[in-house]
Symmetry: C2
Subunit: 299 residues, 2 copies
Amino acid sequence: MTGPQLDVPSGLAARVPTPEPGDPRLGRLSLNQKTVNGWDLRAAVDGCVRHGLPSIGVWREPVAEVGLAAATATVRDAGLRVSSVCRGGFFTTADDVERKERHEDNLRALDECAALGAPALVLVPGGLPAGDRDLAAARDRAASAIEALVPHALDVGVRLAIEPMHPIFAADRGVVSTLAQALDIAEPLPVEAVGVVVDAFHVWWEPGVLDQVARAGDRIASYQVCEWITPLPPDALLSRGMMGDGHVDFAALTAAVAAAGYRGDVEVEIFNADVWAADGDAVVATLARRYVELVEPHL
Amino acid sequence: MTGPQLDVPSGLAARVPTPEPGDPRLGRLSLNQKTVNGWDLRAAVDGCVRHGLPSIGVWREPVAEVGLAAATATVRDAGLRVSSVCRGGFFTTADDVERKERHEDNLRALDECAALGAPALVLVPGGLPAGDRDLAAARDRAASAIEALVPHALDVGVRLAIEPMHPIFAADRGVVSTLAQALDIAEPLPVEAVGVVVDAFHVWWEPGVLDQVARAGDRIASYQVCEWITPLPPDALLSRGMMGDGHVDFAALTAAVAAAGYRGDVEVEIFNADVWAADGDAVVATLARRYVELVEPHL
C-alpha cells in the first residue's frame, strides 16, 4: 500500500484501461498542476489536453512566472476550465502589519481567480505563529480574516474555499482541522462567497465525515482526491498517494459529495516525491485510470 | 522547536533547576517506561527511584520478560505506583477467530493490571484491517469489543482507558481519533469500568478539546504529556517531543484536566529516536524539569 504504481501492468493499475481523450468519464477530471511538479503551466496545460482532461487546478506561483494575462490566454486557448486556484490564506499572524499584507495578498488572489475564470480560491488557513501555543485564538483570527474577504469575493464572483487540513498540519500549516470546523466558519457567511474544500486526504479520517459532507451541501466549492498511504512517507508535506494505493474509501466519500449536490470538477492533487520523480505523462495516465475506476462511477 | 534539549544549559532547560528527589512537585509524576527505551523494567524502576518519581507506566512486554510476579515485586519493593499499563486494544479485526484471541488477550491484560495495582489499561484501538477502507465499521467493532470487556474490568477493578489517537494513526493504529469520539464510546458504559486517556500529543489539535476534557470529568483515567514538534520527525511513530520543544499549550490543557477533577498521576510518554539515543538519566532529569515548569503548576 505504499507508493504509486505508475505504468505498472499489475494489480489495480491493470484492472481498467487508460481512458482515451474524449472519454465522457473524464468530463469532470481536473489536474492540479502540483501533481506534476516538474511541469510549468504550459506543460501542464498541454498535458491536460493530451490526456483529455478538461480542467486544471493552477497555483499562483507558476501563473505569476508567465504573467496573469499570458496564463489566462494559455488556459483559455487550450479550451480548459480552471477548477480552482491555490492558494490564498495564511491568516493566523497576530501582527497587524502582516495581517494587512495577508489581506491584500488575498484580495489580489481573488482578482487572479476572476481573471482565470476560476470559481474558487483555495484557502490554506495557516499554522501557529512561531512560539504561539494558543490554537483557539489562531483559529479565531483565521475566521475573522475570511470574513473580511467576503465583500471582495462577492464583487468579483469568486468563492473563498476554506480547506480543512489534516491535523498533522495543525501546528505549521492549517489550523482548521475538520470539515465540521470549516463549516462552522463558513455557515454564517454568504454561500456564494464562502465554501469549503472537501479534500479526501485531509478529511477521510474525520468522525462523521459523511454527515458533514451532507451538511456542507452547496458549500462544497471543490472536491479534491488523493490518498492516505501507510507507512506515511518521511516528509509530511509529501505524504499523499495515488488513489487506490491507500486507505480512503473513495466510493463512500464521492457518493456523499455527489448526493450533497456538488457538480463541479474533481481535482487530483498529489504531493509525493515518487510521483514527482516519475514521468509526467505516466502520472497523468495513471491518475486518469484510477479516477475512472475509483471515483467517477460514484459521482 | 525540534528535538529535545537534553542536558543543555540554555533556553528553557536552564530556566528551572532539576527538582531533587523528595520535591513535592514530583508527587504525581510518572515515567512511562517507553520514554527510556533502553532501560528494562528493573532499570526504569531504579531510574524512577533515583530521580524521585513516585510512579511508573509499564508496558506488557518488559513485564512479561521478567514475569508478572517478579515485575510486581520489583515495582512494589521500590515503593512505586503503577500509573497505567500499556497496552490492550487492537480491536478492529473483522475475523471472528482473531477477534476472540484479541478479547482473551485483553482479559489477560486486565488481570496483569490488577496484579500490578494499575488503575487503568490503556487501549490502543487498532487500525484498519489490511485492504479494508470502511473506517466507520472498524470504529464500531472497536466500540463493541470494549463493551465486551466491561464485566471483567468490573470484576478485577481496573478501568479500560480508551486512547483517542492523533488522526495520523487512524489508518494503521488507532481508529478512535478524537476525545469526543472516545467519550461517545465510553459514556454508555459504567464509569468505573471505562474511561479515556487524555494524551496531549494525540488531542492537542482537537477543536473544542478543553470542552471535551470538561465533558470527560471523572472518565479521565490517565493524563499523558509529551509534545507535538515540527518539523515532524520522519518516522510518525517516533514523532513525539519533550514538553516545551513544540506547540502544545500545556498550561491550558493541564488546567482543564485538573478542573475536570483528575487527581491521578501524570505520565510522560515520549517516543523519539533522539530521546531514545540519549542517556536515560539525562532524559529523566530533563522531563522532570520540564514537568515542574510547564505542567505541575497547572494541576
